[in-house]
Symmetry: C2
Subunit: 209 residues, 2 copies
């Protein structure tokens, strides 16, 4: 395997586990059995490495999301909110075929990116992959037209937060749940439980302030 890929593989596991700031280049390169200077040679800087790690997922995910969403939007029947969310979830789960534990690792990275490094990753994603968010809001708008754009803005960010936060602490939560309820669960099981929750949240009746 190429040095570049060895670095990417080691980096995304470590980044997901310990955060971007919490992972040093020396940890990454020694995990990847690669010389320290290789990161700066192949990627230029640590920041560019972070971008590369995220882009590997986004380049796989973004077109699949786009086609899944446009499919249900162009269907003869108006989609339900559940369908919109599942359209989002399916490509997400497919990341496990693309890479081992791809789904949870990616979502953990997303969670890291929102809190680490003062929102630089949010900037990177919204400027590099703007279609993902706008397509999703379009689909929700079709499924639930009564929702004002502003209300939807907030509810989708709440949803984003729920998903990302849940996944970034999913390992710990799954551990607790297995101890307390003797119920075996994996990441897909957590997602199955979170879907009704976020769908109900987005579909909540409109209140006046």
């Amino acid at each position: 395997m190429s040095t570049k890929n060895k670095i990417l593989d080691a980096a995304d596991v470590l980044f997901a586990d310990k955060g971007f700031n919490g992972t040093s280049l020396r940890e990454i390169t020694s995990q990847a059995n690669v010389n320290l200077a290789a990161v700066n040679y192949h990627f230029g800087s640590k920041k560019e490495l972070i971008k590369a790690v995220m882009s590997r997922y986004m380049d796989e995910l973004s077109p699949q999301l786009e086609s899944a969403l446009s499919l249900i939007c162009q269907a003869e029947q108006k989609p339900t909110l559940h369908e919109v969310f599942y359209a989002f979830i399916e490509p997400l789960l497919k990341l496990n075929e693309f890479k081992e534990n791809g789904t949870s690792t990616f979502l953990q990275l997303l969670g890291r990116g929102y809190t680490d490094s003062q929102g630089f990753l949010r900037w990177f994603l919204t400027t590099q992959y703007p279609d993902v968010f706008t397509n999703f809001t379009k689909a929700v708008k079709i499924a639930y037209p009564e929702l004002t754009t502003e209300e939807m803005f907030w509810r989708l960010h709440f949803t984003m937060g729920t998903i990302v936060f849940t996944m970034s602490s999913s390992e710990a939560l799954i551990d607790i749940a297995q101890n307390d309820f003797n119920n075996k669960l994996d990441i897909a099981g957590v997602i199955e439980r979170v879907i009704p929750y976020v769908a109900a949240g987005v579909a909540a009746p409109i209140t006046n302030y």
Copy 2:
């Protein structure tokens, strides 16, 4: 003001803004106009300073939450889920009287603690303030008895995630919302919008897997 409090005040603003790992003692002490060694003199270590910052909020919050929850639980009428959540929210908003921007700063710190430093803060809070969580689950159990304990476990953690995550990125989101919708909002406005969302999520109908 005492050196100890100057450090605490500077620390919680910086911790909330840049995370625990992302904030150095030198930033804190120079912001507080205090000598670098004062942190280790008064608190022993950076880790103990983090605990002290969180305890200042939790010692204020914990008893108020306890009384608010026990009040609605002992009322003659069974509380609704909305009431349970508002019982939680009111003491949270009161942190603004306790300290300027106390509410959002505290929630941001909570969010940091979940992702920074590999869950050490989660351990600290659940061992030092265990009643907060158990009282809340009791109240929800009364308001929505059909929910199994396991399902509730998950939904409450989703809720925790939604709140904490939203607050930890609330500044950025409020900025975006103000640009896009010309709608002035503060942290209380965001909370007013998130309540219907999480209440609907927790109250979502039970599905079989």
